[in-house]
């Protein structure tokens, strides 16, 4: 009873709202909408389907956000059969046609999350309530991704997380409507351990500086677990606020702590700042406990390596993907992205692009945008040809399992984008874990009415 009532109200609202939007010309390509009964939130009824890309354009992760947005736009182009098709030809098993999705042209709207949970949810609600999107994607901060994922679960709209690396996203805060292609902190720990052991030995004392939120906490936890397995000791970690800018007050104590490795659980501008400042303080030139002082950055990207410049040289980290990978899919994507934007894509761009394709493909296979059916298609889906080798979307927690790259800052970059050396690959088997270790519940997949 209430449902149908609400449905009617919403429709009239959308109709009158739409007329107005069109009148001022700001309509983000939502052109026509029928008045058929909706069985689920934002069922597309015209000849377009709208996706919402919710990324940080301001705040400490703005670079990643901007790159994600580029990738989203590229993905939409390719889905609509424009451009060179990118990874559409390499992707298997694909039912994508390059004719839009389920015969509808793909449109999109964008929004700025400001790297804040409230603003991100506001932005996502605008996309869902006003612009009628059937899927929201985006990320760059796990805190924000988790907040938006929660909202999407409530409103019955699928959330295809882009860059979010916290264990919680598909761990204790996982949701039936949320899916993550990106790897996580736990996998970083497992992947980077052997390389750190080989390079720095088994007798080290690590000092952690950690971004004070879900991603930092879980990265710290995973890094401690994996380095202590090597035999390293850990000094009580220090938490730093997100977007701190100046980290000198946190770096000075490192020198006298007796630690000989600094692990920076920072991302985006935070990592660029803290790493640059740590290097300026001469940490990398110090000898402590008779050993060369080292710095480790668990999660690195090209964009951060670019920001940190020479400070990045020789630093170990992990990545979800790198544009210099030589498989056909990565090459195709890099070529397509480079042609449009004049620069190689970052891992943030890659995961954003992949998630959009995966969603579109799942809708094609389901034959509908009805979320419970789309979710069924994604759960347990095994695919290849998107740059990471064979990959599984695990049904139990909606986490993708694939190889993880261990990278190191290049000593002598040959060009401004050639910044990371791919030194090792952790196999998909080695980074697979029992979903029960993080707890959490997916919740029901019943279709909501927004």
């Amino acid at each position: 009873m209430t449902k149908s009532l609400k449905g009617i109200k919403r429709r009239t609202l959308v109709k009158s709202g739409l007329a107005g939007i069109l009148a001022t010309g700001v309509a983000p390509l939502v052109l026509t909408r029928g008045t058929y009964a909706q069985e689920y939130c934002n069922a597309p009824t015209g000849d377009t389907v709208t996706l919402g890309f919710n990324v940080p354009l301001t705040g400490p992760y703005a670079d990643e956000g901007a790159d994600e947005q580029r990738a989203f736009e590229l993905a939409v182009e390719h889905l609509n059969g424009e451009g060179d098709g990118g990874m559409l030809p390499t992707y298997t098993p694909s039912v994508l046609t390059g004719q839009g999705v389920l015969g509808k042209k793909v449109a999109f709207v964008t929004g700025d999350t400001q790297t804040k949970a409230d603003a991100a949810r506001d932005s996502a609600r605008r996309m869902i309530e006003r612009d009628g999107v059937v899927m929201v994607s985006g990320g760059s901060s796990s805190g924000v991704a988790i907040a938006v994922q929660g909202l999407c679960q409530e409103m019955g709209v699928i959330f295809m997380a882009a860059l979010t690396h916290s264990n919680d996203t598909t761990g204790k805060d996982k949701k039936r409507y949320g899916f993550r292609h990106f790897f996580n902190a736990y996998q970083t720990g497992v992947a980077i351990g052997p390389s750190l052991g080989k390079a720095y030995g088994n007798d080290r004392v690590a000092y952690h500086l950690t971004s004070d939120y879900t991603w930092g906490w879980t990265t710290e936890e995973s890094m401690i677990a994996s380095t202590e397995k090597l035999g390293w000791k850990t000094i009580t970690p220090v938490r730093t606020p997100v977007g701190a800018g100046d980290f000198s007050q946190y770096i000075t104590p490192v020198l006298n702590s007796g630690a000989d490795v600094l692990i920076l659980n920072h991302y985006g501008f935070d990592m660029v700042n803290s790493l640059t400042q740590a290097v300026q303080f001469g940490l990398k030139d110090k000898m402590v406990n008779g050993k060369q002082f080292e710095i480790v950055v668990p999660l690195v990207s090209d964009l951060m390596a670019k920001g940190a410049g020479p400070a990045m040289k020789g630093i170990y980290g992990t990545s979800n993907w790198d544009w210099q990978l030589e498989d056909a899919a990565s090459q195709a994507f890099t070529k397509s992205f480079g042609a449009k934007y004049g620069q190689p894509p970052s891992q943030a761009a890659h995961t954003a692009y992949v998630q959009t394709l995966l969603y579109a493909d799942a809708c094609e296979r389901a034959g509908t945008f009805y979320p419970p059916e789309v979710i069924k298609q994604l759960e347990g889906f095994e695919f290849d040809g998107l740059g990471n080798g064979p990959t599984l979307y695990r049904a139990a927690d909606h986490q993708c399992f694939k190889d993880v790259l261990v990278v190191q800052g290049k000593e002598t970059p040959s060009n401004p984008f050639d910044l990371l050396d791919h030194v090792d690959t952790a196999s998909r088997e080695s980074v697979t874990y029992d979903p029960a270790i993080f707890g959490g519940e997916l919740g029901p997949d019943t279709a909501a009415m927004c």
Binding site: G17, T58, D122, R126, A147
Partner: protein, 386 residues
């Protein structure tokens, strides 16, 4: 009894007309906001909620002149309290609102007691310090209560003792309800709108009461107030607590429309935002802060979502070659540049209309209606000679 009830609701003709017009404007939001692309429940709820926040803030800043830079703390307290009420007791909004208003009031008593020992910039700095302290507590110290940066959210395993005493646990996360009727979207907006009208009515009563005049007198000359026999600290304290409770109410409504409470809601930027709203709209006027709140929320939510595609569409009438230029220039002011536009607007208003948008309205009105009683400025509204 009858006489009490009469004074309780009695208001001047002018106030009554203002209230009726305001009610029409608020309730008709879904209609007049749609040409502006803002008629969706999520934003309209924010319009109503932040109007309440600004109204309350103006009772302190606009009337007494005490500029608090820490009001977001009360907003946050209200949100956390409401979410905890949802988690522990019931999804019903009434207990959530009551607890949120009471607890933020208690918080305001504590912070006000300490901050009101100073005036001027020292008062502002004290409130800023306390708010920043609350933010840090919420962000990293009291994480068992606040869940830190990840925000406090509902979970499938919440006790909700009252709800579960009357019915079984249903699958999925529950949503807010009023006497058993769950609501969201447009209904939630109308709920917030009704609460806003109530808050506006109370603000009107304060503005037109002797108490309101005392608050204005404190702003005007605190020494004279003391020597005229008034305990100005008590008056300022009362105004502080009332505005803290308004903020708590707004915080509760934020949690009702979206059951999530994050520490960033208490950050200094959020405190600064309500100062901007009030100054932009017109300090000390009843309507001004509401308009300021709407403008800022509009910029934040609509301008920030414009992208090049939308702009190209918007400038469709401009010839091809020129259009790219126009789009390239204007794109700097929308999307991630929305704060730039807002900043420019703010500078323009402060430079040319120091009394905010309401001063602009008065000036325009002055151009057309010269026969009106002369206005004596934003701060004082002398009683009309009968």
């Amino acid at each position: 009894m009858n006489a009490t009830a009469k004074t309780l609701f009695s208001m001047s003709r002018r106030d009554l007309i203002t209230l009726v017009i305001f009610a029409l404007v608020v309730l008709a939001m879904p209609i007049w906001l749609s040409p502006l692309g803002a008629a969706y429940p999520g934003l309209m709820q924010k319009f109503a909620i932040y109007a309440i926040f600004a109204l309350g803030f103006n009772i302190l800043f606009g009337l007494t002149g005490y500029l608090s830079f820490g009001h977001a703390a009360f907003l946050g307290v209200g949100s956390y309290t409401a979410v905890w009420s949802f988690k522990l007791l019931s999804m019903d909004v009434i207990p959530a609102i009551i607890f949120a208003v009471i607890l933020s009031g208690i918080f305001a008593v504590a912070i006000g007691y300490l901050s009101l020992r100073r005036t001027g910039i020292y008062f502002s700095i004290l409130t800023l310090a306390f708010a920043q302290m609350s933010y840090n507590l919420a962000y990293s110290v009291l994480t068992p209560i606040t869940n830190g940066e990840t925000s406090l959210q509902l979970s499938l395993r919440d006790p909700r003792v009252l709800d579960l005493a009357f019915g079984p646990r249903e699958p999925g996360l529950p949503s807010a309800s009023l006497f058993g009727h769950t609501f969201s979207g447009l209904e939630a907006f109308y709920f917030c709108a009704v609460v806003l009208l109530l808050a506006f009515f109370i603000a009107q009563k304060i503005f037109s009461s002797p108490f309101g005049m005392m608050l204005r007198a404190i702003k005007s000359n605190q020494t004279r107030m003391n020597y005229a026999g008034f305990n100005t600290r008590s008056y300022a304290m009362t105004a502080f607590v009332i505005s803290g409770m308004y903020a708590g109410l707004a915080g509760a409504l934020l949690a009702i429309t979206d059951p999530l409470a994050g520490a960033e809601r208490m950050q200094w930027t959020a405190s600064g935002e309500v100062v901007l709203m009030t100054i932009l709209g017109g300090v000390g006027t009843l309507i001004g802060p509401v308009i300021g709140a709407w403008l800022i929320k509009y910029f934040e939510n609509i301008f920030s979502a414009f992208n090049d595609t939308a702009l190209t569409h918007f400038f469709g009438f401009v010839p091809d070659g020129l259009r790219e230029v126009v789009v390239a220039i204007s794109s700097k002011f929308v999307g991630e540049g929305w704060q730039l536009t807002l900043g420019l607007l703010f500078v323009l208003v402060v430079m040319f209309l120091p009394g905010g948008i309401m001063e602009g309205v008065r000036r325009i009105r002055g151009l057309f209606g010269s026969g009106r009683t002369p206005q004596t400025g934003a701060v004082s509204r002398p009683q009309a000679a009968e």
